[in-house]
């Protein structure tokens, strides 16, 4: 339950930081910023979904984590790490052919890693883990 509360606290902090970012940027919100902003929003929605699932499990008196969820998380981490390596190679290739700041490349890369993790989690969570 503590982890679920912590997850919601982090989501709230990120959301507040995004609001401050949005306010401080004023009218100078570039298309890259908009892209990053929408990815962060997507990650927040995903985090809320995961948090809600954990919260409803706790409400039913079930554990928020069990052997399946731990295995799913392990496999997701392994898959997303492997995919991220190739993604960074692609990012470096794109950076050489586009005019992008280092900060922009790093920011986009980290967000893409988070999206990659989320997509892997969804696939593994719905596909299941067999014969391992």
């Amino acid at each position: 339950m503590k982890k679920t509360v912590l997850l919601f606290v982090i989501v709230a902090m990120v959301a507040v930081a995004c609001v401050f970012w949005f306010i401080s940027s004023g009218e100078g919100f570039s298309s890259t910023d908009m892209f990053q902003f929408s990815i962060i929003a997507l990650i927040l929605v995903f985090a809320i979904f995961v948090g809600y699932k954990k919260f409803s499990s706790a409400k039913r008196g079930e554990p928020t984590e069990d052997e399946l969820s731990k295995k799913v998380l392990q496999k997701t981490a392994a898959w997303s790490y492997y995919i991220s390596l190739y993604m960074w190679v692609a990012m470096i290739y794109i950076k050489d052919r586009m005019t992008m700041d280092t900060e922009e490349v790093l920011g986009t890369g980290i967000l893409a890693m988070a999206v990659c993790f989320g997509v892997c989690w969804l696939i593994i969570n719905f596909k299941g883990i067999k014969n391992e």
Partner: protein, 64 residues
């Protein structure tokens, strides 16, 4: 590996939620087990068999 969890659960008049609570896992895990999308650990298999008062090999059917 196949299993008879759904059948035994119906016989013992247990919901997925009841069984999940008895073996201390999430309901989703029971759903995955019944759909044969997850092979449980030996401990979980033992706990489930204990709930149904059966041997592991009577609940979980191994393909040879």
């Amino acid at each position: 590996m196949n299993n008879r969890i759904k059948e035994l659960r119906a016989r013992y008049n247990l919901t997925q939620e009841d069984l999940a609570k008895k073996v201390n896992v999430r309901r989703e895990t029971i759903v995955f087990l019944e759909k044969n999308k997850y092979n449980p650990s030996l401990k979980l298999a033992y706990d489930i068999s204990k709930v149904f008062e059966a041997k592991i090999e009577d609940v979980f059917l191994f393909d040879e």
